[in-house]
Symmetry: C2
Subunit: 504 residues, 2 copies
């Protein structure tokens, strides 16, 4: 039993271990308990499942101070950010309760028996059902919103799937605490013990994704970690869906008009977006594409000035810190790269200084367009729309792409939007990509490496990842799920091709 | 250039080659032309894309006799079946035109800017957009409905994705003919030449799924072939979604009450389902679970009697024929397996005789519960619900699972339905799984190996595989897709969480 020792990023000193790496047998037991609770959770009426999520939210809210203090000690993210993250996490649990109560997510579709141009058609009744046990991997940079009590957990439980979380080793105490609070709340709602499980250790994660009872995996983390899990999944007898968000460049394009009109504002906004949570956000702008010339120079100057004054927090762990140092040192030595800001770390622990580099668009390459986890960004100076498009086309796809406009771009903006839309899941205008609202329309995903391409990890439709369709043909009413019976009119339904609202 | 030589299954003689294996450069050129047409197709208004599909359907319908004759020569499936398949194929193209005209598939979702419990929220507008070029692999057993003009092609073009089909080598002439007819129809509608491509050869298929412009793959075929393509996809710099249907056992459970009430009918229905298209359907019952005792004996006897009198067609190709012979010979020599029917082939070409085996449920294992492509099935004799459940739990997951009932089962049927629902995508009652209606509610998919778990290859929602969400944040009206603008009310929309029907 190897203890999992986290470190306080603000001081660099080791914290008291609260968990140990789990053996394969221990992980298997957790997964089996989860599988044993699957029918209970799937059968729980939607309103009661919403109440379960609400009880979990209440339990977290009731321990706010303890959670924030514990998470701050393990992440150094600070109480303002962590209080905001807890608010979001609690909101998210309740929001998915609303989503399942509304019921559209079931995609209830009824085709009556009858004649068609293809011949006679039987009675068909389709809806989405939970896939079964879901494995969730906690992320280092969101100890709450993308970890034990996070969006993957909330959406999977809402879907009716038991969840087993693999805790991130950087915040084991926060994981254990949130897991205990939510498990107690679930038990008070009558849930079997296995419905929400927690495992620790890197090997435990591999055992988890290979467990026969696990039906889908949610992952937020590095491309390397994600690929290793995908390889483990490919070795299963029955490979399962992997929903991963692996990295993202999040380019921000500044138009010439925007640079002319709002250089100071844009520089300040960018600095906030690059430095918030010390740049440890999956939507942080890694590339800012600024036109050449005096107006563009003013944007870069404002970015540099604001970033030098920005307040940052220590990085989350030693690995992220050393990777940051290595990548920024590496960039500084690439021919054609001009360091604009390179500040030294001040204070103890895993602190680093922010960095801004600059490069000409025609020398941009794979080496100079990488995600750097931390308060650094690369300014790409471009001249003319062709050079801009060419630079954008060389980039890996992203979660987000942003345009800073003047409002006067006209048709050029349509072409640029179209180009960006092919390479990102969220397209922003005159805004900054960090900060992701949890809502019905939100989308947080995109083409590889911002996978899974077709789905999202934030927003109402995140629940779709943990559901699969089932159609009942010629079924007696007694065996149908409640929502497919003739007397069920409390959810939106498609009846013989026509969408019908509840009560209609 | 190796010519692709198909064989007439009814005679075993080689047909005149109409295509050759394509080089990597040739495949790349086809994919590049497809990619070059992506914007045109995505920008085509939905009603015009429906018209494009309709024109393709008309072109196929107009060449009905030639298509059926060509396909019959290459597949031996017979003109009745092939005429039915063409009707289905033509219907399917038009049906997806209806699906996109209706517009729900876009999942238009609008969140207004405003305050929320999480803080201020920006204006967010989400919809689904085409993923880009789609690769489709033709299946041997459906030269039309799951090949060049099939459901994957129809749903992908409807979604707005250019398609490149990898022709199945068993029916190259049918593939070339359908491709020519549909391409000419597309050209007449103003489509660029690349919007619908065709490639030939096994290596061409690998080059196709590795092409950087390809964004998703639809595949119907063997587990081995599917896994090889998945391995090729994993080697891509940017892995892409793979939607495969690899094999399926399609268990049919006969309850004691059903056996007592309808033995002769059930035996006859099963024989038709097992022997239709000579058992070369992905939903053919490979396992029939019949209770022990005299009533069950009567079901088996009726199945045997009807199957011995059934009319069959030759198998599709030499590989399927030799695999059928090998698997049925193998089963006959497994201890505990009792041959019930084993008929010799009559006539020339790839003809085989039907086969029925029988085994006791407590000796059922992996070796005796395999898919056999051809007119064979395994009867599993069970005694008591526990033994039935145990047998069902050992099986691989399936596209379908069927129960033959007496209508008097009561609560037992609910438990059985629940069990089957966990292992299949379509659950049938007092019906037979072969024959898949194309409709709004249809689902043709299931957990591995009936992948992709979360999606379907038949029915309206098959289109979902070729779409990905994009959300626009704070976007000016001018850059938004038509369906996301303020004045667009012709599709169902979710506005601030509330579903709104068109015109409301």
């Amino acid at each position: 039993m190897t203890a999992i020792t986290a470190t306080n990023p603000a001081t660099g000193s080791a914290l008291e271990p609260v968990a140990s790496e789990m053996s394969a047998a221990e992980v298997t037991a957790v997964v089996e308990a989860a599988a044993a609770s699957a029918d209970w959770l799937a059968d729980l009426p939607r309103t009661e499942r919403a109440a379960l999520l609400g009880a979990m939210a209440d339990a977290l809210e009731g321990a706010r101070d303890e959670i924030v203090a514990t998470a701050d000690e393990e992440t150094g993210l600070g109480s303002t950010r962590l209080n905001g993250e807890l608010t979001r996490t609690v909101f998210q649990l309740r929001f998915f309760g609303e989503v399942i109560t509304e019921g559209s997510y079931l995609e209830v579709t009824l085709d009556s028996a009858g004649d068609t141009p293809m011949g006679p058609r039987p009675d068909l009744r389709r809806m989405l059902v939970p896939t079964g046990v879901v494995a969730v991997f906690g992320a280092s940079n969101f100890p709450l919103a993308f970890s034990v009590p996070g969006g993957d957990t909330a959406s999977a439980l809402a879907a009716g799937c038991p969840v087993v979380v693999k805790a991130h080793p950087s915040h084991p105490a926060t994981s254990v605490l949130c897991h205990r609070l939510m498990s107690e709340a679930a038990t008070a709602q009558g849930a079997p013990a296995g419905v929400f499980g927690l495992v620790h250790g890197q090997e435990a994660g591999v055992v988890l994704v290979k467990a026969p009872q696990v039906t889908a995996v949610g992952f937020t983390g590095s491309t390397g970690g994600g690929k290793a899990l995908m390889a483990a999944i490919a070795e299963r007898e029955n490979p399962i869906p992997f929903f991963g968000e692996l990295s993202s460049l999040n380019p921000v394009v500044v138009t010439p008009g925007a640079a002319a009109a709002r250089a100071a504002d844009i520089g300040a906004g960018l600095a906030t977006s690059v430095s918030g949570s010390s740049g440890q956000l999956c939507t942080k702008p890694n590339l800012v594409l600024v036109p050449t010339g005096a107006d563009g120079d003013a944007v870069v100057a404002a970015l540099a000035e604001n970033l030098q004054q920005a307040t940052t927090v220590p990085l989350l762990n030693e690995r992220i810190r050393s990777s940051y140092t290595e990548l920024t040192d590496g960039l500084a030595s690439v021919p054609g790269v001009r360091p604009v800001v390179r500040m030294e770390a001040e204070g103890e622990g895993f602190r680093v200084g922010p960095a801004v580099f600059e490069i000409d668009a025609d020398t941009l390459g794979a080496e100079t367009s990488k995600e750097i986890f931390g308060p650094a960004t690369m300014v790409v100076r471009w001249s003319g729309p062709e050079q801009l498009d060419q630079a954008l086309e060389t980039l890996e796809d992203s979660l987000t792409a942003t345009v800073q406009t003047s409002g006067q771009e006209g048709e050029e903006l349509q072409g640029l939007t179209r180009l960006l839309q092919g390479h990102a899941g969220r397209i922003l205008f005159d805004a900054y990509p960090t900060g992701v609202a949890v809502s019905w329309a939100q989308h947080h995903g995109g083409p590889w490496p911002a996978t899974n391409t077709q789905h999202t990890s934030v927003g109402a439709s995140a629940i779709r990842r943990w559901l699969r369709p089932v159609v009942f043909q010629n079924a007696p009413q007694s065996v149908l799920p409640a929502e497919l019976r003739d007397d069920a009119t409390d959810v939106p339904r498609r009846v013989d091709g026509r969408l019908v609202l509840p009560g209609a």
